[in-house]
Symmetry: D4
Subunit: 254 residues, 8 copies
Amino acid sequence: MDNKRDILTLLRAVASGEATPEDALLELKEAPFEDLGYAKVDFHRAVRQGSAEVIYGAGKTPEQISGIVAAMHGRGCGNILITRLSPEAARLVGESCELEYHAGPRLGIAWRRADTPALGHIVVATGGTSDLPVAEEAALTAEVMGNRISRVYDVGVAGLHRLLARLDTLMSARCVIAVAGMEGALASVVGGLVDCPVLAVPTSVGYGASFGGLSALLAMLNSCASGSAVVNIDNGFGAGYLASMINQMEGLKE
Amino acid sequence: MDNKRDILTLLRAVASGEATPEDALLELKEAPFEDLGYAKVDFHRAVRQGSAEVIYGAGKTPEQISGIVAAMHGRGCGNILITRLSPEAARLVGESCELEYHAGPRLGIAWRRADTPALGHIVVATGGTSDLPVAEEAALTAEVMGNRISRVYDVGVAGLHRLLARLDTLMSARCVIAVAGMEGALASVVGGLVDCPVLAVPTSVGYGASFGGLSALLAMLNSCASGSAVVNIDNGFGAGYLASMINQMEGLKE
Amino acid sequence: MDNKRDILTLLRAVASGEATPEDALLELKEAPFEDLGYAKVDFHRAVRQGSAEVIYGAGKTPEQISGIVAAMHGRGCGNILITRLSPEAARLVGESCELEYHAGPRLGIAWRRADTPALGHIVVATGGTSDLPVAEEAALTAEVMGNRISRVYDVGVAGLHRLLARLDTLMSARCVIAVAGMEGALASVVGGLVDCPVLAVPTSVGYGASFGGLSALLAMLNSCASGSAVVNIDNGFGAGYLASMINQMEGLKE
Amino acid sequence: MDNKRDILTLLRAVASGEATPEDALLELKEAPFEDLGYAKVDFHRAVRQGSAEVIYGAGKTPEQISGIVAAMHGRGCGNILITRLSPEAARLVGESCELEYHAGPRLGIAWRRADTPALGHIVVATGGTSDLPVAEEAALTAEVMGNRISRVYDVGVAGLHRLLARLDTLMSARCVIAVAGMEGALASVVGGLVDCPVLAVPTSVGYGASFGGLSALLAMLNSCASGSAVVNIDNGFGAGYLASMINQMEGLKE
Amino acid sequence: MDNKRDILTLLRAVASGEATPEDALLELKEAPFEDLGYAKVDFHRAVRQGSAEVIYGAGKTPEQISGIVAAMHGRGCGNILITRLSPEAARLVGESCELEYHAGPRLGIAWRRADTPALGHIVVATGGTSDLPVAEEAALTAEVMGNRISRVYDVGVAGLHRLLARLDTLMSARCVIAVAGMEGALASVVGGLVDCPVLAVPTSVGYGASFGGLSALLAMLNSCASGSAVVNIDNGFGAGYLASMINQMEGLKE
Amino acid sequence: MDNKRDILTLLRAVASGEATPEDALLELKEAPFEDLGYAKVDFHRAVRQGSAEVIYGAGKTPEQISGIVAAMHGRGCGNILITRLSPEAARLVGESCELEYHAGPRLGIAWRRADTPALGHIVVATGGTSDLPVAEEAALTAEVMGNRISRVYDVGVAGLHRLLARLDTLMSARCVIAVAGMEGALASVVGGLVDCPVLAVPTSVGYGASFGGLSALLAMLNSCASGSAVVNIDNGFGAGYLASMINQMEGLKE
Amino acid sequence: MDNKRDILTLLRAVASGEATPEDALLELKEAPFEDLGYAKVDFHRAVRQGSAEVIYGAGKTPEQISGIVAAMHGRGCGNILITRLSPEAARLVGESCELEYHAGPRLGIAWRRADTPALGHIVVATGGTSDLPVAEEAALTAEVMGNRISRVYDVGVAGLHRLLARLDTLMSARCVIAVAGMEGALASVVGGLVDCPVLAVPTSVGYGASFGGLSALLAMLNSCASGSAVVNIDNGFGAGYLASMINQMEGLKE
Amino acid sequence: MDNKRDILTLLRAVASGEATPEDALLELKEAPFEDLGYAKVDFHRAVRQGSAEVIYGAGKTPEQISGIVAAMHGRGCGNILITRLSPEAARLVGESCELEYHAGPRLGIAWRRADTPALGHIVVATGGTSDLPVAEEAALTAEVMGNRISRVYDVGVAGLHRLLARLDTLMSARCVIAVAGMEGALASVVGGLVDCPVLAVPTSVGYGASFGGLSALLAMLNSCASGSAVVNIDNGFGAGYLASMINQMEGLKE
């Protein structure tokens, strides 16, 4: 049972007499999550949506991660993303499941599904080469969620011609993810060039007064370009996830 | 001439021989903006999109604002939003144009159009009553851009029942704008309840360690709920604008 | 002699003639602490209260820690907590005393007492699995101080159903410790659901704009839920100690 | 109907057959809050607990505040606290209700009840005279919630004898609220002297590197005294509310 | 006597016997500054360079400012800049000298000289209209120091076509001053387009997470465009002064 | 009775039999402070030392200030300093006592004594004219405490010759107070030139990235000159008080 | 084709008929950069200017760095600077190209050219010996760009005589780079002594409240000396590059 | 020749004719420092004062440190302090000089002199055992500069009786160095108990919201106790040096 609309519906059914309390109880007992003690794992959502569920790998032991993956896979989940996964942890986790590991973004994809579609069009752009790990986290997240991705890398604003040379690609996107560290100006410039939503991802690339990504974060929050919003520093996953939601929006029915 | 795709097209037409340099020059001379000295005003975009163009009112004199409004209106623009507009400036600006002024959000709407549609469904939710001015900036922005808005105010997470009582409304949204100050938890809780994109707007409501909205901003950037992104503190306009873009997305064509 | 009420009483006894200055002097000479040069160790308090005394392990050499433990144990103390104790230091300290070491929270318990009671009811809740080390520091602290603990882990606000499924446990608590990193919203939501004091523990779990726990700290300080207070980032010990005091409050005598 | 335990009980009654869905529906319709559009006001809680409900006055218009007060009073609430209430707003609000206004702490108490008890013992201590407004917010809050208060003002740690002269009063407290700006050391010193919980309230008193209370806040969060926790800068209300909860704890039943 | 090279020369002359100690003493007595008690005013430099000397107006009384102006003018100085000069102070100062006051940048120019040349070419560009006051401080400073200025205002990066339309002007500059608030991206984009030094001036224009210009400052310090440097927030004077030095550099002699 | 050495002596006298408990009690009853309710005023110290006692004026009502002054004066105190005293408060306070008010430093001196000596030599130096108010707070504080003061104002490091011209005065000091805002370099340069202790006072003079004195504070804390220490931003009083203690040190007896 | 002036010229040639669209197309196809996938490398600029192009080494794999160097060298570039290059990466990169590696500043120079001139005069000064790595990054950058460099190291302001002893060297510079950590006062003092532009480079040298260079950065931004500007913390490259531009300015033609 | 008073005297002698320029030149040539290229070492000062000169070890290579030590020793210096000296560097430096190394404070003393006196009385107090390394840096610095030191360690304010038990020692000091991390309250409490100058040293001891010593630093800067000043975080050397200057002050001659 899904933990949102369905619970509401169930309660209404009880209240209206359509369902007996016994049935409701039974359905509720089929808990929408499994309690592993150290974690409470959501199954239904991932199964139903056919898309990626995510495990935040930092601060979890490899055993805990493996346990969560096993529980999810046991219920039929695939395309399970594990972010902030260290190479050592990946080696251990990979012993108990089919794991595709990307060392740059430190991202694991457990039980990747071959049949994932590639819908619509999301562009992932970066200011520099050093932003690639974060960009790849965004791109891979969106890919496993069923979106078509174009990578437009190293198009920082200090060399506008590199960006303008890819204007065609940018303009055909339904959503752009702009990944940049240092002064984070890419989001503003892209935001002024395209008509679709722009998701800005500040990165911790830089030194000195970049203060671990703070400079790019503040710049992106203050962007004078309309139509953009910001996710956490280095949060490629978050941008990829939201971009997928936007890219796959159904059209308005009038 | 639109300042994006069209310029590219024009340059290609020149390069390919489809357009003579003279024609191109002529079109380019019809500048895509009008230079008022203190401002360079974009016309075509607003005219073409039939939606709101925005003037950032802070730091501009009433004369400058009036000048920009006049230039835009002269080219056929309506629904011109003026943000951060003080009551005194509003009085002066209102002498030279038809101005609807909202004192709470300090928002002016010049030459509002009666024929604006109300498409789709955007929910604007607030944590408390004190967040209303920012919420109204978002709601009014989205309204003048042609969206249907539901206001779900004062549903902060410290009284979950108030939020759950409006679950139906929230779940029918195509995009939710979550406006909250202080601990900014509304975005996370809403993000966990709905399936659509959530745009988080931190507000400067609070005192002490809220540091002018910093606490809510950081909390929202660190939201553990997937599918959300953040705009600047008190930036109701930005959230309303992006929500409109998302709400009015065309469906994927397969 | 206890260093609080008793000193005052003694001085009064001297002043009122009930005690001779000689007796007072004698009692004062039995110093309420032992001076090891690098540390001044309080004995009486721990002996009298039968509860845990704490050694802050960071910045102390294993020799210093062992010396303090030995001095305390020599006076009859047990249940001696050593926080921020590295595995290497634990190995060395364990050579000279009976040490129970918890690697996750980096917490040592020297000379643990088997006869510790389990009074009342304290709930320790976490937003995620990665918050476990801090939560365990709180839970173990409260346990060795004689309290009954329920662990409710991984109930972050982005999946409300997980939290609501444990509502019974939460509502039966006399004090709740809410441990969360990132946006730290758990404290606010729990604070709105229960009637007892809520102690919020921000954790350094997160990345980017969590700034080492700052985001959770600020969010918790700005909680709109009444009846809560905050301890330092990752300070599980402090929360466990205060929760024990609250849980073991005597009832009001009218 | 109370919004916590009662809803759970009701749902169980429906599920177990003890209550008919119709009855449940009826009870649920008696909403636990009243929706004023700009605010959703909780009644049952305040009525049932006989204690103060609070309205955060900042960012609300006098009309909104008056409306909320009227709605609460209409349901039988008294002792309604209004924090951060400006003198001008107090004048306007006072026209439509019986309002006791305290200019120092900018605190209003609407429809104060004469029959409030004065139970247990809470001490409110301040570092200096300039901390009085915040201390009074705490003291008045706790008073209207039915607690006995002792005020121990201007006992900052730079003149220890002033604090030690009031040791008797401090030691008889069931909870101490330590209010201090600048270096905020009062909480640590008091925490080392008493055996009861200490709630630390940093104030924005000070200048320069006090950074609006940040210095006191950080000092209090880092207190080396066990048994204390911290509320937001200048949040006298929060400390008074939690102190009341602690002071009125029932004793453990064995 | 100039306070730099000349003093050294004088001392050498004494040491080498070219000047008698008496002569040296005499020259030294002609103090290179005049002590007004509250200020020590440098004359020689301004006289010799024929350019602007600056008085920082904030925190000085109108009497002090007038005194400094009078002392300078008495020694032949003109084009005396007074920054951060409030309108009220300007009125008072203007009573005792010939003062040209610019209300936008709050800049006074006392005893402006008609014969100031307009050498070379400095471009002052701004991101928005709200940056004008700071830009004018820079432009006026450079003008009174004898430079030719082109103003390129409201060419923020979210509308690149506005900037590109002025590329000719930008490229003919010997130094560009890029003035921008909010995300401060203008400096990076301009820096990538021109070959001359770019001086970046962050402004306090913006709200929320612009934190009084911090966002623009950090962005500019982290600019990925080579050939730029940054001055203090809102420091139009500093940029204008340095731009003048760069613009008037003598060519290398080989 | 003085609250320091004397209390200890008294307690020893009781313990050794030299004093009867009754005498001790009597002496202790002559409280070392007077409790005004809102303030606890120390008398003995000021009387004995013949020097200034200080009242921090901010956050106190004029009535409270007047009450404290009256209580002190009633016990024979003079030279009572009142810092952060607004002109309005000064007017009211001045109605009930003999008050010398300095508007620049916002400093009041109640019941100033004519017979104050002028011992030793303290130099107060400032970087600029705008630092005068803080410098005067330091200078006046030290003056009423009986020290001889030399004012060396507007000798900022960007014009070294102004500072070097006063080298004689600086070198004859027993303690130098270096007052500077902006980059706060004065303390380092002076510290490298003199042999006596240097007390650095950062001021909030400046704008933009001076962040209210933070830049000067950090610079002074990081001074590479040995022999200096720092007080709070704008804390002229603190520097003056400590400088007086240092200036009046007795010589070492061998 | 150069990506600046030349593109504009080309477009004008097309528009005016001087160039056929076909020619223009051809020239444009000779892309001004080479796309390596992970990087877009600018060639023409470096070739044409005969000066250094820079690769930011941090966050790039040795393979990526080698690839970029190879691409650049293949087009005739020399003097290729690689900043933030770790010793291990340097070893790997050095296997595929002629690499001069400087361990202190972690700077690589690939394919250094023997025929680089040494024009004009740039002084690089440091506050202390610990600032050398950053200073060397600046000095080497400027050297490979064809400038004559004087190193004036360890002349911090706490020992003015060391600085004054090198006054001759400083005064003969066309541009001074002032490198300092801690309190960063060197820039201000040097700025007051010389007549040429001063580029301030804050370094992360220091501890405690230097906060990784923040203290020096803020101090330098707030310098009261006119004629200076600031680059990012530890950004020796940026200062060296800009100093080269300034040093090699052509003289004004009248 | 000393670089202060003596230079001035020399110049005057030249000007007055007492010295010939030739003699002056000769004396000036005997440079007051030796230029090692990477460092400019001051000799005369250390020789003359018979006290410690300091080398800041961080960021210097062992070779550089050894070179400076050798140069100083060659001119007769002893008691050479090397702060922030890593154990590895100490081993290397120790090969070329007589080095006493203290691992806790990471402090080296090269060529320590046996005949150093122990004058006056300085107390070094710490809040906890973890503050010892910083306290020892202060104590050792003051010791090699010829002062008598009393160590009063682990007397934090949360256990006042430990501090009060050493009141005798504290009160006999001519200067107290108060070393504390976390909430840094020790300085305020000690400042209220003693009559001599108190130098506060914040330490980076702590975790979470201690932010590397920031909490203690701010608390100490905001101390409400008069007569204290603050040095940089962990700057034991600075406090020891200044305490020595104060302790060895000559008495006022009247």
